[in-house]
Amino acid sequence: MKSFVLSGIIAGLPLCIHAELGIQKERPADGRCVQVEQGYMVAYCALIPGSEIEYEMVPCPGGSYFLGSPESEPGRKSDEGPQAEVRVAPFWIGKYEITWKQFWLYTELILAFEQFEDKGIRKIENKYGADVVTAASKIYDTSFTYKKGKEPQHPAVTMSQYGAKQYTKWLSLLTRRFYRLPSEVEWEHACRAGTKTACSFGNDPKKLGEYAWFAENSDGRLQKVGTKKPNAWGLHDMHGGVAEWVLDHYRKDRYSKLKDRPLNPIAWPDELYPRVIRGGSWKDPAEATRSAARYPSNDDKLKANDPNSPMSPWWLASNRGLAIGFRFVRPIEAPDGAERLKYWDADVDEIREDVDQRIEEEGKGKRGRVDPSLPQAIKALEK
């Protein structure tokens, strides 16, 4: 329960102290670490405030690497090149994909927000405020959402990129630490864990089954996270499992425009789709799970089974959606307040308007204030 104490102490203290979680002054005697100015980044485990549910973060070193794959790589597609050298600052990343157990805390948020509204408490001042999170609309048809698995340790699926981003906003505001989706460049860096081969374990496709759940071994459904071997940095399911959202807009020719070893480049989206999904999934063939493989999103297809318009900004409704999830990162240097919203909130009018309409006119989804006092307020509702 060490992590619980830690998390309890940290809530409410200023940011400079929060940044200490996962940092040690002295080099640890054992276990992986990443040396940075502030000391040594180490893996950490913390509880989601207000719950007994843990999440584990693993450090990734900064440095440069070649994004993409060589033309000679079997299964390679043209959008994986030309290879471009990029630089990345150190960050922590989730050891596993977000599980249902971890995601349900966010999906249950709407029930609390509804009651706050009924009671006229925790009112919102600015609906686009830095402290406001949109709670996802309730799942309409669970027979669909959980069709491929609903065990607490199964990776959560069918959230949109916006839904995943609001999750990271919610967790950040609860913990006072800065969590967000990884950029495409960070994601591939973490996946490769220093390797240049097709997969983090090498080039031998016969070994994929030891590291990944994919079409050939998944039995056509979700499998529990962390049940295959990790990569060299201790990350599980970067290959296969569920495909993972990253921050970036998808552009087929993006890599040709990455010049002069850019540091932490992000292709910020300026339209609803395509956005990048990485890592392949339980329903994909081996080549789609390679470190460099990219997949463009298409909201109209990913939400094709949504019976309503506007289609849910938080949920996907398609078979492909049943194979899409995410994990989040915490960069060593957090941007300041306003800059953070870029990583969390609706970034194009279409999403913003859909969210407004769903919440304000349809009564689906709800806004609420999130801060470290939220878990107490939710507990008080139970009385």
Binding site: K138, I139, T142, S143, A304, P310, E361, K364
Partner: protein
């Protein structure tokens, strides 16, 4: 979807007596006043252009490249305008949204103006209004997409049955929004159970639509009580039919399908409201349990629930003499273990593909029988849970109880009472 599969599905539907397709000539269709030729533009209109109606219009455009949207209607002008905005924003439908201020209608009679001006109408208002709207559309010779359920009371069901007979005479297509009938995985599973007898003879069906709660649209000081009820229509039995009809009809429809779209002889039910007790939640229940008995001895054990924090489960488990089938999971276990692994295109698009193909081929589809029968099944279940009495199909079907106010106007209508089993009388 390949033509081969389409043929198979249609043959299957014929064999199981769902609805035999008519072989009417295209020329006959013209007498109904609608286009039939291969590439002609088909003008569609939406009656009830909320979230579902707007998406249904998109599904229609996905299904048929010749479809254009020319009219939108809703009781509320803001809903109709919101719908138009949503449609206009989608790049892929550019040039196909031809709604103007003159063809955007609001008010309780908006449906007439929409129907008068189009070839095909999508009926997607709250279910209360469906029988009247469908009757008007068929009277005017229009093909219809009809959302579920199709009525909230027995007189409404009887009206729909009569209207569908007229539609057949006039060679008009009536396609139901009971969407699982157009899902390829469910069709394949039904074929295994009903045609291939993969689980032997059906003994009973365990059916659940146990889910969480849905939306609420709040209240405003300037809303009359009529406006409050219509905007929050889910929670008023006279508007939605109760959640047993509004949502759980998807489950009851699959049960009916498994029972050959016949009706039960009797049913008994238990229900009430435990979580949603506040006044804002109107007068519907939040759980129902109904046991249906069929003439051939088969049983349907059905539950539905809308309660937060409870275990969700939505599916039909079919118990057979040689195994069990899970309909939505598309799986069979037992002597003939089987799993569907074919394509799963959007069933919402599939139902519109069927509709527009039927119009263009001059082979009208009439889903009237099952949509009325399954709606009545839900209403019968509700009558049992509201009264707490075991009821016979015949008495339910012939019930004279007509739900809703005498007239539709924006005034302060009374708050309907919540039913109390043992005290609420069957009528």
């Amino acid at each position: 979807m390949s033509n081969e599969k389409e043929t198979t599905r249609r043959d299957f539907m014929k064999k199981t007596g769902v609805t035999a397709v008519s072989t009417a000539l295209a020329a006959d269709l013209m007498s109904g006043g609608a286009h039939a030729a291969g590439n002609d533009t088909l003008r569609i209109g939406v009656v009830g252009s909320g979230g579902r109606g707007t998406k249904a219009a998109m599904d229609a455009m996905e299904a048929d490249p010749g479809v254009v949207v020319t009219a939108l209607g809703d009781t509320f002008e803001d809903r109709a305008r919101g719908s138009l905005k949503g449609l206009n924003r989608k790049k892929q439908y550019k040039g196909r949204i031809k709604v103007t201020d003159e063809t955007l209608f609001s008010g309780f009679d908006a449906y007439k103006k929409v129907i008068d001006s189009v070839d095909v109408v999508l009926l997607t208002t709250p279910p209360h209004f469906r029988p009247e709207h469908l009757a008007y559309a068929v009277d005017k010779g229009k093909h219809c997409f009809v959302e579920k359920p199709v009525a909230v009371d027995a007189p409404g069901v009887r009206s729909v049955i009569e209207t569908c007979k007229k539609a057949k005479e006039k060679n008009l297509s009536v396609v139901s929004g009971l969407c699982w009938r157009y899902d390829l995985g469910v069709n394949a599973t039904m074929q295994q159970v009903l045609e291939e007898k993969a689980i032997g003879e059906i003994v009973a069906v365990q059916s659940s639509y146990n889910a969480g709660t849905l939306w609420h649209r709040g209240d405003k000081p300037d809303w009359s009580r009529m406006e409050y009820q219509v905007r929050n229509w889910l929670y008023y039995t006279w508007l939605s039919g109760d959640h047993i009809a509004e949502q759980a009809i998807h489950s009851l429809d699959k049960c009916a399908w498994l029972m050959g779209d016949t009706h039960p002889i009797s049913a008994t039910g238990i229900g009430g409201r435990q979580q949603r007790t506040g006044a804002k939640w109107g007068n519907i229940f939040d759980h129902h349990v109904v046991f249906f008995e069929y003439a051939d001895g088969k049983k349907v054990y059905f539950t539905c629930r809308q309660q937060n924090g409870t275990t969700n489960h939505v599916d039909e488990t079919v118990l057979g003499t040689e195994g069990q089938a899970r309909i939505l999971r598309h799986r069979i276990q037992g002597k003939n273990t089987w799993r569907y692994s074919g394509p799963k295109p959007s069933m919402y698009v599939q139902e519109h593909k069927a509709l527009f193909k039927s119009i263009r081929d001059g082979e009208p589809i009439n889903n009237g029988h099952y949509m009325a029968n399954s709606t009545m099944l839900a209403i019968m279940g509700r009558m049992c849970t509201y009264t707490g009495r075991t009821l016979k199909w015949e008495q339910c079907f012939n019930s004279k109880e007509k739900l809703g106010p005498e007239k539709y106007a924006w005034e302060d209508v009374p708050e309907p009472k919540v039913a109390m089993p043992g005290r609420t009388k069957f009528s």
